[in-house]
Symmetry: C2
Amino acid sequence: MEESKGLVKHVLLAKFKDDLPPEKVDEIIKSFANLVNLIDCMKSFHGGKDVSPFNMHEGFTHVFEATFESLEAVNEYAVHPDHVEFADLLRATTEKFIVVDYIPTYFNL
Amino acid sequence: MEESKGLVKHVLLAKFKDDLPPEKVDEIIKSFANLVNLIDCMKSFHGGKDVSPFNMHEGFTHVFEATFESLEAVNEYAVHPDHVEFADLLRATTEKFIVVDYIPTYFNL
């Protein structure tokens, strides 16, 4: 019924500043996505705008997910200069963000 | 470089109440996972404990992700009696939770 896999999922919820033009938001997202090309231990990246009908998003406007092969790889990413530079950009352009990492257990396979 | 797929990802961050025994938390997670067996439009479910080294988790202890074929399916799920019953359980056993839904764009394929 359950199976645990080694991959770490890195999930980031962001609320971009209200006065940020949509094209600037797109540019920031492209910079985020481009980290996959710059940081070896980052394996994939996807994301999108919140479209939740639940109204329990607490104001977060975007969701992003990157995958890493291990928690060590996440730590490597954390201090990578290209990530540090991107994190500064994100801090400057968001009202708030949340970062969680987890090793997913898959149910009902 | 980019590809958008139709699937909706439904992400829930939860902070379970501190005084909840771990076996009770496991039981709640199994009830969540079991919704896949009860609700046709819910396609998959995975989740895990937060292990983030970033200390930007805002107290959230767990991450869960379910997938749906469309936003209509998410709306169907929202009002499904088995989901409504589970949502009541979650509200009673968590300090807080956030729900976001998004149609992911995959980068760097």
